[in-house]
Symmetry: C2
Subunit: 99 residues, 2 copies
């Protein structure tokens, strides 16, 4: 494989991985998850975890490293997202109970 | 490569790709991009585009297909996100002008 191809792959991986850093910073700062689908966060984080297993089984270091970094960014986002989801659900339940 | 590994790779790719569908539906329905970092959306979509180029250069069909589908989901999200960003910036500019 020519070197140019590999460089493009590494650039692509770096962009899709580190794209999540400003999202993590925003989510931690604002705790505002209103625009983010919890189904997206759950499926995406599960997918990243499967990519990590795939990388480990194949001994593919770029896949392993990119997905460990991505998981470091997405696990806290998943935590905030799920906490919000449960909070909203119990809030609605309490509202219904009061009616 | 044993078949099991490949299946895990396809499951991982399917999850990380189709995770974006509920996000697209939510963004189109609510137009609420307040919790999503525009830097995340820009970098992530650019990264997906580079993955597509990488796949095309390597003739790697799974990479090509997964990234075309992802781009179909993320280009409209990018559009809504950037439109919101410019709207907010011009709103703040007008507010400052009025002061």
């Amino acid at each position: 494989m020519p070197l140019d191809f590999t460089i493009i792959g590494y650039m692509a991986g770096t962009l899709t991985t580190f794209a999540s850093l400003p999202q993590l910073i925003k989510s931690l700062k604002t705790k505002d998850m209103s625009g983010i689908s919890p189904y997206f966060v759950i499926s995406f984080t599960t997918g990243l975890f499967l990519w990590l297993i795939y990388g480990l089984l194949r001994n593919d270091y770029p896949i392993i490293i990119f997905n460990i970094i991505s998981l470091i960014f997405w696990i806290p986002i998943l935590y905030i997202s799920l906490r919000d989801e449960f909070k909203n659900k119990s809030y609605i339940k309490n509202k219904i109970k009061k009616c």
